[in-house]
Symmetry: C2
Subunit: 296 residues, 2 copies
């Protein structure tokens, strides 16, 4: 089988209140990634701002922007200049009162290759996303780019094997998860460790189940809760790049801002799928209950 090496980079960063500074830091990191040889650069979830879902505040919708819009234009110019594909994660304003958590892909000619609207929306203490984001209506469709067909999913999607499977079945060549997840300092160290390990493990398992590389890009740093009723979130970083057997190729630390670069071999997928031919044996005759809520 033919080797097909792709150099990929994840930008794990801290975000502050200054939107312009956040974007400039992302852009600087993309330049660094390109200088390091990366052809595909993934930014973390909602990298333009602090993770604003710690509270429910109608004024926050002012942060939303159209797609295409200012961020995709700016990042598109950068993609073309550097000849890289950029996966951005934006707060999309689709219509007044209708907003999405959207990944936008800038192809290496600067054009908008496509978008994915986060399908699974969480809502937990400190992650009040159901207030802000309408669940995606574009389904699980890979985005065609000059470096391959990208299966982009966002954060909470990462806990759903169904999402990874559907992307793989639709022809994705790699799975990509922009993410914002962290710790509540009131949890014990043991609980924190279980959570971070579970997060890594389930995404590596999507690589295994589907024979695809997985790129997961998380934010880092502490962000206080604007309400001060809650302690805020310590984002746990740990962004990683895994191969199609789930093997770790590179992983960032929990605390450092990082441009994490690794080479992946897209040709390895067929090799692995010949050894572990899960797609051959799926019992599609017995899976119809997967579209039910529960069996009771």
């Amino acid at each position: 089988m033919t080797q097909r090496t792709l150099s990929v980079a994840l930008v794990q960063q801290r975000c502050g209140d200054d939107l312009k500074a956040n974007l400039e830091a992302s852009q600087q990191a993309v330049r660094e990634a390109a200088a390091g040889g990366a052809r595909l650069v993934v930014l973390q979830e909602l990298h333009r701002s602090r993770y604003f879902c710690q509270t429910e505040d109608p004024a926050v919708f002012d942060l939303a922007e159209p797609v295409p819009g200012p961020s995709t234009e700016s990042l598109g110019r950068l993609a073309a200049e550097l000849d890289v594909v950029i996966v951005a994660s934006l707060f999309e304003r689709r219509a007044p009162g209708l907003y999405h958590n959207t990944a936008a892909v800038l192809d290496s000619d600067g054009s908008l290759a496509g978008r994915y609207r986060k399908m699974h929306i969480p809502d937990d203490p400190g992650y009040y996303e159901k207030f802000y984001f309408t669940p995606g209506d574009l389904g699980f469709e890979p985005i065609e780019t000059r470096v391959g067909r990208l299966g982009i999913l966002v954060c909470w999607d990462q806990w759903y094997p169904e999402a990874a499977r559907l992307m793989a079945m639709a022809g994705a060549e790699l799975l990509i998860y922009p993410t914002a997840i962290g710790w509540d300092e009131r949890d014990t160290e043991e609980e924190k460790d279980r959570q971070r390990q579970a997060w890594t493990m389930i995404q590596r398992a999507h690589a295994i189940a589907n024979g695809l590389p997985v790129l997961s890009c998380n934010r880092t740093g502490f962000e206080p809760n604007p309400n001060r009723a809650e302690p805020g979130i310590q984002f746990w970083g740990s962004s990683f790049i895994a191969g199609p057997q789930g093997e770790l190729l590179a992983q960032a630390s929990t605390d450092d801002e990082t441009v994490l670069i690794a080479d992946i071999d897209l040709g390895r997928t067929e090799e692995v799928r010949r050894l572990w031919p899960y797609f051959r044996d799926r019992r599609i005759d017995a899976y119809s209950d997967l579209t039910r809520r529960f069996r009771d």
Copy 2:
């Protein structure tokens, strides 16, 4: 939430050519597990014999037995004597020319609580199961016992998130995988490590995705290939018990015969599912393609 502790045991054993000796070793291990406090004892896949699927040989069908039959009678008596639930894994003869890879559950009163017929059947060099086993036709149904509703799946099923999800949706309280998987000595140490890690990881991920404990019971020891054309299989043991966040509670070594015992708290599932409410947010409106073979 109420704690509901269940002591469980996995019997990781070597098998030889002597069927009677294999069964006696299993029974001895069940006694040891019960003496150690276990109320649920899981035997490895096809524990009555060597893993016979290394070759395709019509004479091997002589090993098959009816269910209920001699093995379930013998293990049922033991279950009643010791007041434990036993998960057995048998080569079921259903009709002349129709055989299954079947898990049979003996309840603690000695009765046959139910059976699960392996749904996903592998076929890879050294694992010629499609020759021997008709794919299961009982679907993904938990088996009700005095210690809980057991979601039993077998070996190759463990690579399918669909199977784990369907068992969880049908009300399983724990997932149980009798297994026979090992290394080909011709593989590099790195490849062997990737395989064993992937095997552990994907099953722990089923625990995470579904908020359920996972018990995986693998055989150990080297079994030569009767044809001598292939080098045989070094079964990698590593049987483990994981909690509903995927955390390892106990794991056996690769090489030792072990009765692995741990306490699991069945009450923890609801606690975990309140923190990580994946079932709430499944996009069942967008999952219908899961019953397709592929999207092309």
